[in-house]
């Protein structure tokens, strides 16, 4: 007597193809292999990018820029005047930051950055943009209701603080320079950099803690 266990066959079939990538992953493999063959990208460049942006870069470079601006008035003046040149001094210029504007928070001004079209972002300074930055909700609400968005991130502004919303483009990106927290006079530039959050440099965080690890 022969037996045909269809469940078993289906299981074997599933196991055999369990490693079949998703449609998106297959389309990416297609583009990648074609672009490499055409010599338009190299596998090494792509691997290096993924390694750097998945793990290494993050917002550390941006935090260094801000901490340096807090400590060095001349650097800060150069940063606010021509941010791309200033970050070039630190070796942080990337493809996306050839045109960069630094905008400074003050007691009466809060800056908030968005890209209403897509997700333009100074990623050579801040790493890959957070997922919320790329949502349709943020892209529309940051302009329509910036105070509501800020409230959602736990930032409540006094009525006399003006909100400036900056809409990034492929040609011009923004870095918010947050206010230096009080009581940090004794800290070094490296210690100060640890206080600067990614969100503060986008504008969805405002009052930074005076000690690392406090607050958001």
């Amino acid at each position: 007597m022969t037996s045909f266990d269809s469940t078993k066959v289906a299981e074997i079939h599933r196991q055999l193809h369990a490693h079949l990538p998703s449609d998106s992953a297959l389309r990416v493999k297609a583009l990648e292999s074609l672009l490499v063959e055409k010599g338009m990208v190299t596998a090494e460049t792509l691997d290096a990018w993924v390694e750097a942006y998945s793990e290494k870069i993050g917002p550390k470079r941006g935090a260094h820029v801000v901490a340096k601006a807090w400590c060095d008035a001349d650097f800060k003046a150069r940063l606010l005047d021509d941010a791309a040149s200033a970050i070039r001094e630190l070796g942080y210029l990337g493809n996306a930051t050839a045109h960069l504007k630094a905008v400074e928070n003050t007691a009466t001004v809060h800056n908030l950055v968005v890209c209403t079209l897509c997700s333009c972002y100074p990623f050579s300074l801040l790493g890959v943009a957070p997922n919320w930055y790329k949502t349709a909700a943020y892209r529309s609400r940051a302009v329509r209701d910036p105070r509501g968005v800020l409230a959602e991130f736990g930032v409540s502004l006094a009525d006399d603080v003006a909100v400036h919303v900056w809409d990034s483009t492929a040609e011009l990106r923004y870095l918010v320079v947050p206010q230096r927290p009080a009581g940090t006079e004794a800290l070094s530039e490296a210690e100060l950099a640890k206080l600067v959050t990614r969100n503060a440099m986008i504008g969805t965080d405002r009052d930074l803690a005076a000690q690392p690890g406090e607050g958001a």
């Binding site: 493999k29 672009l35 338009m40 349709a136």
Partner: protein
């Protein structure tokens, strides 16, 4: 404190701690786009316009406002700029995608997957 706007998706802040890439292909899309821009094959403006158009399409189609939707739109944008500025027609890309699928199906689990070269 004001409440999130009506009709808003889950609070944005909730997405704050999410990993930026859920799957390796998502990182590869961004890496390819940046590499093409670095090489001058695609201008930053052309890329942001293609991405903006793909995001608008996703929104119009009622796709959920998630990172997955964003990266799928980025992939469609990349396919468009590769066709328009990289000189690789969509049919070639699509045939290559199918060749990769066939290669995966033909390769036992655990073995490296290679495209067959005829």
């Amino acid at each position: 404190m004001s409440q999130p706007a009506e009709g808003a998706v889950a609070p944005l802040k909730r997405m704050d701690g999410e990993p930026v890439f859920d799957a390796p292909w998502q990182a590869s899309v961004m890496a390819m786009a940046d590499a093409l821009i670095a090489r001058g094959a695609v201008t930053p403006k052309a890329w942001s316009e293609a991405l903006g158009a793909a995001l608008k399409d996703a929104e119009a189609a009622g796709e959920p406002d998630t990172a997955e939707t964003y990266y799928k739109a980025a992939l469609r944008a990349l396919e468009r700029v590769v066709e328009a500025h990289g000189g690789i027609p969509a049919e070639i890309v699509s045939a290559r995608r199918d060749a990769w699928e066939a290669a995966y199906r033909a390769t036992p689990h655990g073995k490296p997957v290679r495209l067959s070269r005829e």
